[in-house]
Amino acid sequence: MIRGTVVGRVWATRQAHGLDGCKLLVVAERDADGKASGRIVVAVDVLGAGSGEDVTVALGSGARNVLRPGPDNRDLLCDAAVAAIVEGAG
């Protein structure tokens, strides 16, 4: 997973059906010092994260479990999902 900050949203009308109804957030990755690395990922959000909030993003096959716990979730089109809204990090 990565840690990052929600910085915006993405809208698309021409998209794969697997993304229909998904809320897509732009997340700016933070490095070990907590600074923005410049890298961004687009993650599906079902937790209700908003702009400016710190989140963790699950990447790869693990991300599907956020949308629907496995094992019967291999049909989902998801490789990045907000897994937690972060309150603090030391």
């Binding site: 900050t5 929600v6 910085v7 915006g8 949203r9 993405v10 809208w11 698309a12 009308t13 021409r14 998209q15 794969a16 059906h17 697997g18 993304l19 897509l24 732009v26 700016a28 933070r30 600074k35 923005a36 690395s37 410049g38 890298r39 961004i40 990922v41 687009v42 993650a43 702009s51 400016g52 790869g60 096959s61 991300a63 599907r64 291999r74 049909d75 989902l76 089109l77 998801c78 490789d79 990045a80």
Partner: protein
């Protein structure tokens, strides 16, 4: 998934049979600074190295050069390819990146500074 701009196309005749009919695009990923000037990753107007990080993606949505697109990696890319080539099943194709949306709008609200 990542956001990027379509920079070109790739074509081939010798390839895995199940990938026939799939268009391949070259996509350059955006960094935060490309979307929010002054934010971390902003090259200050200088073009970042375009050949540094190009990704070859299967195109399912007929995207063209200059379009902003959303690209999925790994298993998710094969799920998307399955929608197009064999609805209801996941084809065993050597594809690990696919364009899954042609982006209308990206709204950046609070971009952290470097």
């Amino acid at each position: 998934m990542f956001l990027g701009r379509v920079a070109g196309t790739v074509w081939s005749t010798v390839k895995w049979p199940e990938t026939r009919g799939l268009k391949l695009l070259l996509v350059r990923p955006y960094r935060l600074g490309d979307l929010a000037p002054g934010a971390a990753g902003d090259a200050g107007g200088e073009a970042s190295e375009p050949l540094d990080d190009l990704v070859v993606c299967a195109d399912l949505l007929d995207a063209g050069v200059g379009d902003d697109v959303l690209v999925a990696f790994g298993h998710a890319a094969r799920v998307a390819v399955g929608e197009k080539l064999a609805p209801g099943s996941k084809p065993n194709v050597p594809i690990d990146a696919a364009v899954v949306a042609v982006v209308d709008r990206v709204e950046i609200e609070r971009a952290p500074r470097r």
